[in-house]
């Protein structure tokens, strides 16, 4: 009886099936595929982009003379940078379905370490920054070990540390005090700008690199007959990225000094820093086996374990990455404020960052998320904070609105997940 079923094997050599890999070879096909993905609950970057556009229009209408000015845009970039960097670290933690409630105050502790070294010990900036980052790594190892090795739920570990690290910052800085950060290099992250000409060169290099990478990948995939998107979609994506980069560079290259006596123009250094981190971390998540294993553990930890992946190691490492980025975020925030206070990294810093990641499209349930989510969501959150500031809204309303936005984003995430489960996406 075994021989009669063998007869259909000659066709086995033909590349049967996988018609989906070819049929979307048109712009319309990709658009349809995208719409069906969105309807299936995979919203991707859509809510964040809609949010940026809607909020931009709203605040432009409400404050036409201040919101869309080059000066406010530069301010917005400085405001968004610490939120985005903190959120980038949280994306890694959230990918495993874990949470780090202490990320905000960890940024405060690390910034305090840096400020104390600068102010009290007179250490050079690179030593202080390195010390802050090492502190972040050590804290991440500690948190990650409690979660990964001992097995305490991350919610409880980081809730305890949320209080604990605030105490440490208070001890370092002293009750009621602030430690100034006057180092030129560090405050330059926020105060200084890339020279206009160099800014344009960087912008063009970024666009050219992006285009080259995308087109090259497409060519390889096409040549080898692998799954690929139509060229039109790739070109469209490159065009959109190029337009955004050129527009931002152009706006920030305009002289935005309040007095005509000085010139203040160029991209604030915070922006290249964020882009550098975005590229590096996107590479780690998308192109290395370490990143692949993070997704696998977040999607199905048991499957990952059976595939020989060291789940504990992955767990510890995402907390290390989270706290390291928290340290960088703390440094950038300290550069912006010019000082570190006992409350640094407390208050709504964490809420903003979690909100940024979730609004950007990272799931609270683990397994879905990208580094760019932190950038897009961080911009939404920063625009809200910035716009409400321009409107002169009272602090209480600011808290309520920001909390409401996070709840909204989390609801969208939960509903999208249900929808995905229902439609089999």
């Amino acid at each position: 009886m075994s021989s009669n079923t063998i007869t259909d094997s000659p066709s086995a050599q033909e590349p049967g099936g996988f018609e989906g890999d070819r049929s979307v070879d048109s712009l319309g096909g990709s658009a349809r595929a995208y719409i069906s993905r969105v309807r299936g609950g995979d919203l991707g970057a859509l809510p964040a982009i809609l949010g940026i556009v809607a909020l931009g229009v709203l605040f432009f209408v409400l404050r036409p003379e201040t919101f869309l000015t080059p000066r406010n845009m530069a301010n917005l970039a400085d405001q968004a940078a610490p939120i985005i960097i903190l959120a980038m670290g949280l994306v890694f933690v959230l990918l495993l379905g874990e949470i780090d409630l202490s990320a905000g105050v960890v940024s405060g502790v690390c910034a305090a370490v840096m400020a104390k070294l600068l102010a009290d010990a007179g250490a050079p900036w690179y030593v202080s920054v390195a010390a802050a980052i090492v502190t972040g790594v050590a804290i991440g190892l500690f948190t990650g070990s409690l979660v990964g090795l001992i097995g305490i739920p991350s919610f409880v570990v980081t809730l305890a540390l949320l209080l604990g690290w605030q105490g440490v910052t208070l001890r370092l800085i002293g009750q009621g005090g602030t430690v100034p950060v006057r180092d030129e290099v560090i405050s330059g992250i926020s105060d200084r700008n890339v020279p206009v000409a160099l800014g344009w060169v960087l912008a063009l290099v970024v666009v050219a690199l992006y285009a080259a990478l995308q087109l090259n990948r497409w060519r390889t995939q096409k040549a080898k007959g692998l799954a690929h998107q139509p060229l039109a979609v790739i070109v469209l994506r490159i065009a959109v990225i190029a337009a955004v980069v050129v527009l931002v560079t152009a706006v920030l290259s305009v002289d935005r000094a309040p007095s005509p006596a000085v010139v203040l123009a160029g991209i604030p250094y915070a922006i290249p820093l964020v882009i550098l981190l975005l590229l590096l971390l996107t590479f780690v998540l998308g192109r290395t086996s370490f990143g692949r294993h993070i997704y696998a553990v977040g999607g199905n930890a048991e499957a990952a374990r059976r595939a020989g992946i060291n789940v504990t190691k992955i767990k510890v490492s995402v907390f290390v990455i989270g706290s390291t980025l928290a340290a960088i975020s703390g440094i950038v925030a300290a550069a912006r404020l010019g000082s570190v206070a006992p409350g640094s990294g407390g208050g709504n810093a964490l809420l903003y960052a979690v909100g940024a990641a979730v609004i950007g499209g990272t799931s609270l349930f683990g397994g879905r998320g990208r580094v760019r989510d932190a950038v897009l969501g961080g911009l939404v959150v920063a625009i809200i904070a910035n716009g409400l500031g321009l409107l002169g809204v009272e602090a209480y309303l600011n808290y309520i609105i920001t909390g409401g936005v996070l709840l909204l984003a989390a609801s969208v995430d939960a509903l999208a997940r249900r929808r995905a489960a229902a439609t089999g996406h």
């Binding site: 075994s2 989906g20 080898k224 020989g308 996406h425």
Partner: protein, 266 residues
Amino acid sequence: MSVPQPEDRTPILELRGVDKSFGANQVLHGVDLKVYPGQVTALVGDNGAGKSTLIKAIAGIHPIDDGQILFDGTPVDVSGPRDSAKLGIEVVYQDLALADNLDVVQNMFLGRERKNGFVLDEVSMEEAARDTLSKLSVRTLKSVRQLVSSLSGGQRQTVAIAKAVLWESKVVILDEPTAALGVAQTRQVLDLVRRLADTGHAVVFISHNMVDVFEVADRVAALYLGRMAADIPISEVNRGQVIELITAGRSGDIGIAPATVAAVEV
């Protein structure tokens, strides 16, 4: 295609007198089993007969207490999942070990990604995955870059089996691959099981469904209360006899000797 006489050849995997106990409870009693390349061996038995324990013993998850495991005629020591994987034994468990949020290629290479230095070699992985799926004549997938969450139960089972095949495995053990599937999807999986054997793999197929067993298997091994009641070519038995072997350990002159059956039942 001529069917070679398996009894003349060396089995790729052979168990001799395997015992396994959990505490005071002896689950396997001197189990013998022969698995041949190019053949599907159906492993049948009632719930609690020891099927799962037996495959976990082969996979190294529950190392055996006594007896011998021979691979290609040589005695081997299987004391962990890595040992069995090294020999080329792959187990596809009932609860499929796939990550929903990864695509088909990513799942097939999970934990064994191909790299160019630091960077994942997506091109080579996709080509190899495509190649394996084509060799197994899997045509039901829309795209190899589809997320596993969007696949049907049968397609998932197919991906899990293809994943096992990708690693130059010699023995593929399938734990009730059709248990939760509809008619058409069962068809897909059974065809795949057959093709697996036709491409030279030794397949151990655990099932409760006699229709599936008689459709796809070359040999049948029936476990009865931890003892191997029969390990014979399927052409020598009919459905009723297999059911008797499963429920009573004996059918006519095949099976466990009456005295042993009586002793076991007491």
